[in-house]
Protein backbone atom coordinates (compact mmCIF):
# COMPACT_ATOMS: atom_id res chain seq x y z
CA UNK A 1 0.00 0.00 0.00
CA UNK A 2 1.05 3.61 -0.47
CA UNK A 3 2.86 5.31 2.37
CA UNK A 4 3.47 9.00 2.98
CA UNK A 5 6.06 9.87 5.62
CA UNK A 6 7.04 13.29 6.88
CA UNK A 7 10.49 13.27 8.37
CA UNK A 8 9.75 14.25 11.92
CA UNK A 9 6.85 15.06 14.13
CA UNK A 10 8.42 18.28 15.33
CA UNK A 11 11.09 20.70 14.18
CA UNK A 12 12.38 23.62 16.23
CA UNK A 13 14.45 26.37 14.65
CA UNK A 14 15.62 29.88 15.41
CA UNK A 15 14.00 32.88 13.81
CA UNK A 16 15.74 33.90 10.60
CA UNK A 17 16.97 30.41 9.76
CA UNK A 18 15.71 28.22 6.93
CA UNK A 19 13.33 25.43 7.87
CA UNK A 20 13.48 22.30 5.72
CA UNK A 21 10.71 19.73 5.93
CA UNK A 22 10.73 16.38 4.16
CA UNK A 23 7.97 14.29 2.63
CA UNK A 24 8.79 10.78 1.43
CA UNK A 25 6.42 8.38 -0.26
CA UNK A 26 6.50 4.77 -1.38
CA UNK A 27 4.64 2.45 -3.70
CA UNK A 28 3.21 5.18 -5.87
CA UNK A 29 4.15 7.74 -8.50
CA UNK A 30 1.97 10.79 -7.95
CA UNK A 31 1.35 13.23 -10.77
CA UNK A 32 1.56 16.10 -8.30
CA UNK A 33 2.18 16.89 -4.68
CA UNK A 34 0.81 19.65 -2.47
CA UNK A 35 1.84 21.32 0.77
CA UNK A 36 -0.61 22.71 3.31
CA UNK A 37 -0.33 24.63 6.54
CA UNK A 38 -2.53 23.71 9.49
CA UNK A 39 -2.88 25.77 12.65
CA UNK A 40 -4.23 24.17 15.86
CA UNK A 41 -7.98 23.53 15.69
CA UNK A 42 -8.20 24.77 12.08
CA UNK A 43 -8.54 23.26 8.64
CA UNK A 44 -5.48 23.00 6.39
CA UNK A 45 -4.67 25.93 4.11
CA UNK A 46 -3.13 25.37 0.68
CA UNK A 47 0.40 26.66 0.11
CA UNK A 48 1.96 25.17 -3.01
CA UNK A 49 1.39 22.53 -5.66
CA UNK A 50 4.19 20.98 -7.68
CA UNK A 51 3.78 18.63 -10.64
CA UNK A 52 5.89 15.60 -11.50
CA UNK A 53 7.56 17.40 -14.42
CA UNK A 54 8.55 20.36 -12.22
CA UNK A 55 11.72 20.24 -10.17
CA UNK A 56 11.11 23.30 -8.06
CA UNK A 57 8.41 25.85 -7.24
CA UNK A 58 8.66 29.08 -5.29
CA UNK A 59 6.22 31.42 -3.62
CA UNK A 60 7.61 34.32 -1.62
CA UNK A 61 9.69 32.72 1.18
CA UNK A 62 8.53 29.21 0.33
CA UNK A 63 10.26 26.74 -1.95
CA UNK A 64 9.23 23.20 -2.83
CA UNK A 65 11.25 20.58 -4.68
CA UNK A 66 9.99 17.29 -6.10
CA UNK A 67 12.35 14.42 -6.84
CA UNK A 68 10.42 11.60 -8.44
CA UNK A 69 13.50 9.35 -8.47
CA UNK A 70 14.05 9.66 -4.74
CA UNK A 71 10.27 9.80 -4.17
CA UNK A 72 10.75 12.83 -2.03
CA UNK A 73 9.63 16.43 -1.71
CA UNK A 74 11.44 19.07 0.31
CA UNK A 75 9.64 22.15 1.64
CA UNK A 76 11.75 25.15 2.62
CA UNK A 77 10.81 28.30 4.51
CA UNK A 78 13.56 30.89 4.30
CA UNK A 79 14.02 33.73 6.81
CA UNK A 80 11.61 31.95 9.13
CA UNK A 81 9.45 33.93 11.54
CA UNK A 82 7.57 32.94 14.71
CA UNK A 83 4.36 33.40 12.70
CA UNK A 84 5.46 30.44 10.53
CA UNK A 85 4.96 28.14 13.52
CA UNK A 86 2.34 25.59 12.50
CA UNK A 87 1.97 22.02 11.28
CA UNK A 88 2.86 21.49 7.63
CA UNK A 89 1.23 18.66 5.73
CA UNK A 90 2.18 17.16 2.43
CA UNK A 91 -0.52 15.65 0.27
CA UNK A 92 -0.22 13.34 -2.70
CA UNK A 93 -2.51 12.64 -5.57
CA UNK A 94 -3.21 8.91 -5.31
CA UNK A 95 -5.76 7.75 -7.88
CA UNK A 96 -7.04 11.31 -8.11
CA UNK A 97 -7.69 11.42 -4.36
CA UNK A 98 -5.71 13.63 -2.04
CA UNK A 99 -3.93 11.68 0.70
CA UNK A 100 -2.03 13.36 3.51
CA UNK A 101 1.03 12.73 5.59
CA UNK A 102 0.82 13.16 9.36
CA UNK A 103 2.58 16.51 9.20
CA UNK A 104 5.59 18.15 10.80
CA UNK A 105 4.99 20.62 13.62
CA UNK A 106 7.33 23.55 13.09
CA UNK A 107 8.18 25.93 15.93
CA UNK A 108 10.17 29.06 15.13
CA UNK A 109 11.68 30.60 18.25
CA UNK A 110 12.38 34.33 18.47
Amino acid sequence: SQKIEQNSEALNIQEGKTATLTCNYTNYSPAYLQWYRQDPGRGPVFLLLIRENEKEKRKERLKVTFDTTLKQSLFHITASQPADSATYLCALDINNDMRFGAGTRLTVKP
Binding site: I4, E9, A31, Y32, Q34, Y36, G41, R42, G43, P44, V45, F46, L49, R51, L89, A91, D93, N96, D97, M98, R99, F100, G101, A102, G103
Partner: protein
Protein backbone atom coordinates in the same frame (compact mmCIF):
# COMPACT_ATOMS: atom_id res chain seq x y z
CA UNK B 1 -15.44 35.64 3.33
CA UNK B 2 -15.53 32.00 4.31
CA UNK B 3 -15.85 29.80 1.25
CA UNK B 4 -16.24 26.40 2.90
CA UNK B 5 -18.34 26.52 6.03
CA UNK B 6 -18.74 23.69 8.48
CA UNK B 7 -21.38 23.57 11.16
CA UNK B 8 -21.21 23.25 14.02
CA UNK B 9 -17.61 24.00 15.00
CA UNK B 10 -17.99 21.82 18.08
CA UNK B 11 -20.40 18.93 18.49
CA UNK B 12 -20.94 16.78 21.55
CA UNK B 13 -22.98 13.65 21.08
CA UNK B 14 -23.86 10.66 23.18
CA UNK B 15 -22.47 7.24 22.52
CA UNK B 16 -24.71 5.55 19.95
CA UNK B 17 -26.80 8.64 19.19
CA UNK B 18 -26.89 9.57 15.47
CA UNK B 19 -25.23 12.84 14.59
CA UNK B 20 -25.00 14.88 11.39
CA UNK B 21 -22.26 17.29 10.45
CA UNK B 22 -22.78 19.77 7.66
CA UNK B 23 -20.64 21.50 5.09
CA UNK B 24 -21.55 24.22 2.62
CA UNK B 25 -19.51 25.92 -0.07
CA UNK B 26 -19.83 29.11 -2.08
CA UNK B 27 -17.18 28.12 -4.64
CA UNK B 28 -19.42 26.03 -6.90
CA UNK B 29 -16.80 23.30 -6.88
CA UNK B 30 -17.59 19.88 -8.28
CA UNK B 31 -15.67 17.85 -5.73
CA UNK B 32 -16.38 17.65 -2.01
CA UNK B 33 -14.36 15.57 0.44
CA UNK B 34 -14.79 14.43 4.02
CA UNK B 35 -11.71 13.72 6.12
CA UNK B 36 -11.36 12.47 9.68
CA UNK B 37 -8.37 13.77 11.64
CA UNK B 38 -7.35 12.54 15.06
CA UNK B 39 -4.80 14.28 17.20
CA UNK B 40 -1.32 14.47 15.60
CA UNK B 41 -2.42 12.20 12.77
CA UNK B 42 -2.87 12.63 9.04
CA UNK B 43 -6.30 13.60 7.78
CA UNK B 44 -7.87 10.35 6.64
CA UNK B 45 -10.09 10.41 3.58
CA UNK B 46 -13.53 8.96 4.32
CA UNK B 47 -15.29 9.60 1.01
CA UNK B 48 -15.76 12.15 -1.70
CA UNK B 49 -18.27 13.28 -4.27
CA UNK B 50 -17.46 14.22 -7.81
CA UNK B 51 -20.63 16.11 -8.62
CA UNK B 52 -23.27 13.52 -7.64
CA UNK B 53 -20.99 10.51 -7.97
CA UNK B 54 -20.22 9.13 -4.54
CA UNK B 55 -16.90 7.40 -3.82
CA UNK B 56 -16.47 5.55 -0.58
CA UNK B 57 -13.03 4.61 0.71
CA UNK B 58 -12.69 0.85 1.19
CA UNK B 59 -11.81 1.18 4.87
CA UNK B 60 -14.49 3.71 5.80
CA UNK B 61 -16.80 2.04 8.33
CA UNK B 62 -20.45 1.52 7.39
CA UNK B 63 -21.28 3.66 10.40
CA UNK B 64 -20.33 6.68 8.29
CA UNK B 65 -22.67 7.85 5.54
CA UNK B 66 -22.83 10.94 3.40
CA UNK B 67 -25.38 12.93 1.44
CA UNK B 68 -24.96 15.65 -1.15
CA UNK B 69 -28.39 17.06 -1.98
CA UNK B 70 -26.99 19.79 -4.23
CA UNK B 71 -23.68 21.33 -5.32
CA UNK B 72 -23.43 23.58 -2.29
CA UNK B 73 -24.14 21.22 0.58
CA UNK B 74 -22.73 17.97 1.85
CA UNK B 75 -23.53 16.09 5.05
CA UNK B 76 -21.70 13.51 7.10
CA UNK B 77 -23.96 11.18 9.08
CA UNK B 78 -22.56 9.01 11.84
CA UNK B 79 -25.26 6.48 12.60
CA UNK B 80 -24.01 5.15 15.93
CA UNK B 81 -21.01 7.12 17.18
CA UNK B 82 -18.50 5.28 19.27
CA UNK B 83 -15.79 6.70 21.49
CA UNK B 84 -13.29 5.99 18.71
CA UNK B 85 -15.14 8.34 16.39
CA UNK B 86 -14.17 11.38 18.42
CA UNK B 87 -12.07 13.47 16.05
CA UNK B 88 -11.91 16.60 13.93
CA UNK B 89 -13.97 16.20 10.77
CA UNK B 90 -12.80 18.25 7.83
CA UNK B 91 -14.75 19.10 4.71
CA UNK B 92 -12.87 20.19 1.60
CA UNK B 93 -13.74 21.17 -1.94
CA UNK B 94 -11.86 21.37 -5.20
CA UNK B 95 -12.83 22.57 -8.63
CA UNK B 96 -11.93 19.28 -10.25
CA UNK B 97 -10.53 16.00 -9.04
CA UNK B 98 -6.78 15.95 -9.34
CA UNK B 99 -4.35 18.67 -10.22
CA UNK B 100 -5.77 21.54 -8.21
CA UNK B 101 -5.75 22.97 -4.72
CA UNK B 102 -8.34 22.06 -2.14
CA UNK B 103 -10.18 24.48 0.11
CA UNK B 104 -10.92 23.32 3.63
CA UNK B 105 -13.51 24.36 6.14
CA UNK B 106 -12.61 25.10 9.74
CA UNK B 107 -13.60 21.61 10.78
CA UNK B 108 -16.06 20.20 13.29
CA UNK B 109 -14.62 18.85 16.53
CA UNK B 110 -16.75 15.88 17.55
CA UNK B 111 -16.78 14.67 21.13
CA UNK B 112 -18.55 11.43 22.05
CA UNK B 113 -19.61 11.03 25.67
Amino acid sequence: DAMVIQNPRYQVTQFGKPVTLSCSQTLNHNVMYWYQQKSSQAPKLLFHYYDKDFNNEADTPDNFQSRRPNTSFCFLDIRSPGLGDAAMYLCATSRVQGDTEAFFGQGTRLTVV
